[in-house]
Symmetry: C2
């Protein structure tokens, strides 16, 4: 890695486009000598501020999104299933990501990708704390330790602060990338993120 | 043009991303031997069905959009001004576009691009019927004829039908492109439209 500042990658675990972006963001950043800070956020909290509603609940737009998600998955060559309960609020997985990030940022990113895979590649339920801890366990992290982190008031505070800091930075959706102060919303803007990284902006 | 079916291009004159897409859609289609049918729609009517609100009115998202519009304009090398009254309902210009389309589809497209340019390149007010007719006049169409078309009940009906048909086809935003039954929403999906046209889908 060079001394160039890291990229901020904001995502909600319940966001299918966040799942798609999570497959690419680290590789994309690495091409330009950048690290990625993974920021789990809870869009349910953000939407209370912005008045937005979950994508799939909007008439017409929801139908379009279902079709588009399957199309994007085919294009990227990644599996995609809409989980039975959707959208969902993955509070425990978000807390565990932040707790891991404080110890080992690369492990936190691996954990986040594993949570996304459980949800959108396998259609699994990642909401219960035991499910979130079990995924940590599959990466060699102590399950009990992960469960304890989920209940730790300091970690709970971390997630609240993360959400507030995200909104203060202008984040209103998932995925959301900030490069040197420049915001990009949506999976379909990753090519523009790459163009910005390669050119230094325009 | 080959015998391949035309592309449907839906746009609201008040949509800045529609303005950007209007600069590219005909050239893009021509590359693949396709014609373009220009469909003016009124998102104000569509939003009553979907419950959406105008982009720039959403907290955080509106600020992002303002920044993004300037950035996209710089990237495309086209002028961009947010008109003083925005968003706006360009009923007369939409009717005149449909009236022209019935006589000369290429002229209708030229007219639509001229309306967009007046609004977003010059910041002009395209809402009054006289303004919409004046733009037609600048393309060699009789102003009085255009004003009469705007007041013609048959043309008014055309616009209502156009809106209803758009919603029936799943259109919920602007710009919106349908290629051989496949829907694409947004300026940022034009590269995907091109990929679909070149590959026949995936």
């Amino acid at each position: 890695m060079s001394d160039a500042p890291p990229i901020d990658f904001y995502f909600d675990f319940s966001s299918p486009y966040g799942y798609f972006a999570a497959q690419r963001i680290d590789d994309l950043a690495r091409l330009y000598g950048r690290a990625v800070i993974w920021h789990p956020i809870l869009l349910g909290v953000v939407f209370k501020t912005t008045g937005q509603v979950p994508l799939l609940g909007v008439p017409l737009k929801g139908d379009y999104a279902r079709r588009d998600l399957a199309r994007v998955a085919r294009l990227m060559g990644v599996p995609f299933i809409t989980p039975a309960t959707f959208p969902f609020g993955a509070v425990a997985a978000s807390r565990i990501t932040l707790w891991l990030r404080g110890r080992d940022p690369a492990l936190a990113a691996r954990y986040a990708r594993a949570v996304y895979a459980r949800a959108f590649a396998e259609g699994g339920d990642v909401v219960p704390a035991v499910a979130a801890a079990e995924i940590a366990g599959s990466l060699g992290v102590g399950r009990e330790e992960a469960l304890a982190a989920n209940n730790d008031p300091a970690v709970k505070d971390l997630l609240r602060q993360e959400n507030e800091a995200a909104m203060a930075a202008g984040v209103f959706g998932s995925p959301f990338v900030i490069v040197d102060g420049e915001p990009f919303w949506g999976w379909d803007r990753l090519d523009m993120v790459e163009r910005w990284l390669s050119s230094g902006g325009w």
